[in-house]
Symmetry: C2
Subunit: 385 residues, 2 copies
Amino acid sequence: MQVDTGKARTALQLRSLVKSSGELELSLARVTVPSPAPDEVVIRVDASPINPSDLGLLFGAADMSTATQSGTLANPVVTASIPERRLASMAGRLDQSMPVGNEGAGLVVEAGASDAARALLGRTVAVSGGAMYSQYRCVKAEHCLALPEGTTAAEGASCFINPLTALGMVETMRLEGHTALVHTAAASNLGRMLNRICIADGVGLVNIVRSAPQEDLLRALGARHVCNSSAPSFIDDLTAAIAATGATIAFDAIGGGKLAGQILTCMETVLSRSVTAYSRYGSTTRKQVYVYGALDVGPTVLDRRFGFAWSIGGWLLTAFLQKIGPAAAQKLRARVIAELKTTFASHYSKVISLADALRLDEIAVYGTRATGGKYLINPNQGVAD
Amino acid sequence: MQVDTGKARTALQLRSLVKSSGELELSLARVTVPSPAPDEVVIRVDASPINPSDLGLLFGAADMSTATQSGTLANPVVTASIPERRLASMAGRLDQSMPVGNEGAGLVVEAGASDAARALLGRTVAVSGGAMYSQYRCVKAEHCLALPEGTTAAEGASCFINPLTALGMVETMRLEGHTALVHTAAASNLGRMLNRICIADGVGLVNIVRSAPQEDLLRALGARHVCNSSAPSFIDDLTAAIAATGATIAFDAIGGGKLAGQILTCMETVLSRSVTAYSRYGSTTRKQVYVYGALDVGPTVLDRRFGFAWSIGGWLLTAFLQKIGPAAAQKLRARVIAELKTTFASHYSKVISLADALRLDEIAVYGTRATGGKYLINPNQGVAD
């Protein structure tokens, strides 16, 4: 069952290529969209967010301050150089032109013969399939999340990564025996979702932000504990908030610098207040920091003044979903859909086209990973199909 | 049942006092030894090692380069100043005169009325009871480990911390699903035990040492994989050793500096060789470093070029023993006793008295935490009882 037949459909697709010569090249390729197999559908992608996790694949290890643009207005090419010392970390993707875009949403315009595929025809669906910075994507029907009637592609574009990550943090907190949590870069879209989840679920949350305006933003959203890491009183503020909530687990989007260690130190300060006998090994309560992002790619510096009951490690959504299994993951997805316009609403500062995504002035904005600079790509905006 | 009666027995005991004025004071106190309760025994302590874990309690946060000695030859007093910025970390022990010495061995010279206590009278026993830098200690009979006939106190003095820590590393490796391990500061007494355990059990072990002589020492002890962190080829050597063994867990005695991160990076280099599809999140195999010591108290610096499947955290023997439970812990203890003169043999460079332990020239040797400078205290050496 196809909406339109005739010659094979093609689509513009954003590509990132790291050359072994040490150069990054971003461009738009025209690719053929396969006809759907019985269990597949073709989606016209109308909205796909630029997440921090996309920037890593998009820019690789390139120094984007060296970026230059060539090509045409409709078909631009951006090149940038990769510092030689960082090229080794790109070994796994050298000279492979890679599609980008982890998630997005759009209209199902073509469907394979199976019932599951046909049921989606004409529906707006979200998908977390990669290569979403494409006009069209052919994907398995079972990977599509049909959005409720009245939901736009833009509203559903970010319904996987941020919502499931925020829910995954709270679930991880519970699974590992903690009762409250700390979150860094808390004014982000993800941070605001987590704030809403914690208010709804009655979970203690310490929000760490990097500026006074972000502090105001979160307080206006009902956050009780907000600590500004640029304030002189930060360590005292953080200690007080951890004492008030009892948080012994943190999720850190930043990764580099001293913050993860400071969180552990403040937790230990609070825990040591209730210790009766001195132990040079510190409190026996386990303190955990999970690093789930790399807003600061510099080294993590741990000034280990927090005893021996501590752990810091990487946290990835895909690994978490595998760990809890399909049934538990499905429950989380159902909650996201039910609360898509409230708890899990995303905010974007701008909607851009694929060609816009390769403009140096736009890269300078969305490439900073700064809160409030979040973009949505509409791969079909301004495109003559 | 008592060997000798009459006036209460007293004992010299080494004490460490951190004053709120910011001064450390080490001295010998004369304390009264209690008469044993029915379930207790009195041990004449003949041998107690100076472990790195003892140095932390002994010196606190003092800068031992400022140490001065006063008092008499038989009753010396050592004082040293504590940097003001480090005094806060001592809050839990301020102005409390604390006994020192985690473990040791000696002769049971007095016993309570219970059968268990009486059975130990005249036996040489080992105990991990704290305050072992004392001439005599009154402890529960059930906490004593009776050494086999023909075993001296010196041979049994270190039969808890190092042997159980080494066995605990191998057990942790197995419990957490790894098949080989990396160990730092591997030429230590503990490292040599671990090397013997791994050879006996057929477990792959990567020994990281800090000098060429230590490398030679371990190779002479049959170690197959020894990497010298001071060699220019260290990263290549470590990567090759990890590839050869498949090690994905490490135990680090050092804590500070870049080594823990380098181990994770080398593990990731090896794991990424068998990855077929590029992922900017790195390999999915979990890489673990446990920090169990603090030979370098400086910050841990993690240059996170090892994906997201990683974890680094504190590891403590006491927490490990609690986790595995009494029955499993008893099995480990039984192995230690059975192999005390072989697998778990310790080596000391010198045996000193309690008064010697407060000599500045001796502190300068045993306080460096350097491999090969390990001392044993005999609290009854040179003492007129």
